[in-house]
Amino acid sequence: MQIEDYKRIHDGLLTKISGVLLGQEEVTLNVLAALLSGGHILIEGVPGLGKTLLVRALSQVLGCQFRRIQFTPDLMPSDVTGGNVWNAQQGSFDFHPGPVFSELLLADEINRAPAKTQSALLEAMQERSVTIDGKTRPLPRPFLVLATQNPIESQGTYPLPEAQLDRFLLKVNVSYPALDVEKQLLAACAAGFDSERLQVDAVIDRATLVEMQAVPETVEVSPSLIDYIARIVAATRSHRAIEVGASPRASIGLLRTARAAAAADGRNFVVPDDVKGFARAILRHRVVLHPDSGIEGLTADDVIGSILAETSVPGAAA
């Protein structure tokens, strides 16, 4: 696939999803960049902002097999991965695959399940396989996890462990829509739009998605930009407001996403803006702030913003 085709399809996907999810173009762009670089996404936002709608629209335009798991406190790992069930007639154990055996998995309100159940996704997300009773079963390709969580509730929720968070390529924050966008939304609802009965035409199929995921690998990155990425991530490890900095997986993720963003812009080379534009989404869930910073009211986005404001851009004229 050529870069031009990639851009055309990407623009088509963007237009289609933006038509459903109003006023969240940046969120959609981030989600597409992560999907097309083969990464998993954690979407965070208060209830009612259209997180689930976004994922459903995405599954339809991508033409992929879509499964949803509503994470609850009593959800067990086998409810995610599936398990061996005794077949009395045949006298043997039959494997019943869980919802994780799908191409697009929506883990809705992932932080409502305990850590044991959340951890069932660790192997699936990293290795793209599931091991049950000593037998490893590969997951279909593509395999993408889109998890949502609510940032404001603390009772009855289980924060995701760092190892789990690190496996998400991006963490996207969904914010409230602007006033005029909300008016458009209301007008659409008044005209009969029902998100429960959403039907969006597929733009691509599974094979095209796999083909598209290979395109960013062909995008060139100059050594100065690799240096820029490394400096940004290294800065998170020495910043005084951060207790635990980002891992090399974050650097790799930033590189992959920057390449995908360049391809989406129809370029076969990366520019500094591609890197800087995704740095927050890549790093915000990978850094652990000092307790002092939390008490002072600093957020991960603030700290990453200060790092970006201090890290010199390659070819900067100052």
């Binding site: 509730e153 100065s224 991530v233 520019v271 500094p272 800087k276 307790p291 900067a316 100052a318």
Partner: protein, 666 residues
Amino acid sequence: MKRLGRALSRVWALCLLCASAANADVAQPPPQLFEDQSLTAQSDPNQSSSDQSTADQSMPEQPTPGRILLSPDEGARGDIATRLASGRFRFCSEESYRLWEVDKDRLCPHLGKVAADCPGLVAACARPAWDEATPEPSSPGWFFELTKFLGNYGGQLLRALFWLAVALGAIFLLRGVLTTLRRDGSSEAGAATAPTLMPTVDVETAGQPTEVLLARAAEYLESGDPRRALHFAYAALLSGLDHAGLVRVHRALTSGDYRRSLARSGRGQAAGTLLWDLDLARFRHVVDSTGAHGLTSRVREVLAALGAVLLFLAPSGLLGCSPGSDAEGPMAPTAPRGYALFEELASTRFMSFTRRLRRVTELPEGTSSVLVVDAHLRKLEWETLSRFVTQGGRLVVAGSPDGLADAFGLGPEPSDCTGPIEVSGIDVVTPDTTGVSLVALGADDSEGVLATCGASDFARFHRHGAGRVTLIGDASIFDNTSLALGDNASFVLHLFGGPQRHVEFIGPWTGTGAFHPMESIARSTTGPWLLHLLGMLALLAWSRGRRFGAPRPPAPSKRRSWIEHAQALASHYERQGDTGAALSRYASWALSLLGKRSGSSNRDLRALAEALVSKQGVKNRADEAAEVHHLLLRARAGAELGGDKAKLLRGYRVLRTMVSDVAGRR
């Protein structure tokens, strides 16, 4: 040893006595003022006619007996012209320069005789001059009185204390720096080092003017390096936008950031697009040379368009807002009354040349000449100079400094100049035209005359011991104004004669350093500021309540106190929106603390409320206790009660204040 020394000194004194007796008996040969033989020959009134005829071939006129014939020094004249044209001497080159009134009176009548083409001087003479007024000292008078009162011994004590404080401060600072470095080193050693890759193109563009950056871009384009050219074109465009006030350049900003900034401001969208195009071209794998040419041309066009803005801003400089029109200090080195021209000339002509700042208690080894211009020297210093001349040194004294007569037995008296300055062989112009006070040097004791002023001598030399003293009537002959005129530079160089090893330049600045820190503060007129600062520090110390020298409490633990943990936890719940849980968790801890501190049980909330109220010394106890009781009840049941969030928050805050009041922060 003492005997040997005494014997040697007696032998030396005997030799001196013999020499002076011989000088008195034998006809004195003409003084060997200058090493170059031609001048010496011309200054000899008894020289043979054949020698004289040889001298006449090179010199325009025959000097009067005792007068020295000087030849113009073309090198010095050229040197002066070059320096004046260099742009550093603003009075000569700057169109917007304004002279001080004194300088205007001195320079402007001699415009035709300025050694170099000075366009600025013509303009400066046409402009009104600055009024020179003596600034009032801003330090209080008693401060000066105090420095006088302290005198020598007090001053020495202060000086010692000052240096002791500085040394202690330096040690403290050094210790701090070393500790920090050690800590940083250990943390760096423990931390993983980030991979460092060299950028593809390493260009240094920071701090260069726009036109230079553009020129370099063109150079790299010509030399076939389009990528580097694009980096410079990008930097040039940003520099132009920065100067036009459209963006603020920063090393951490990308083209996208600049584009957004330009879009927000609603100006320079074309420039924003061009920035983006340049960025795309710079980071492309293969850079197209033709494209680079096109982009550089577009940068030129955009900068030309921006030039209109810059031109609009430029007249503000012409209207007197530019730094060029600032008044230059009247005694600044490059001002008309400064000595920069002479110093630079001397530095190139003499083997070494020093502007003397310290007191003249001793002279550096190898000093061949000393120039004294308008200096205020003490008796001890004149004695040092006298010893120097007696031992064969040369002293050039300009003006009539106090102490000269006592040290050398020369008694010049001030008198008005009765005619133009006349020097044989060269054209000397004194800038002070009328009313200038010259020195009537008299003709009784001179060994040779270099210049006259009507009936008086203006410059002449005397033998003193094994050396010579040259006296000049006007000290201003050495300043920039004087050296810019006629052949004054040649004249000034002739005063020193032949090649010089080391020349010391003594002026009004010599030995003017403060004797102790208090004097220095008084002179710098920073006394009120320092007193103000001290007052502020005293207030700060008083507000902190710690006596100076009191033992320091142990360093606070980095761990936060339990109260802060509890508050942080509660704040966390509050941020999460679970205000009821926040209040109940905080309340359970706060109630136990309040119970302990107030000496009451936290089980009986009514008793606790009364204890708290009595501790606070409230007048209307019953009402207050009921209110506090209600608050405590609500706080303990906060989570279960739920309800209005604002009310719960208010209760939480009141409880927090109560804990702070009763239990303290820690």
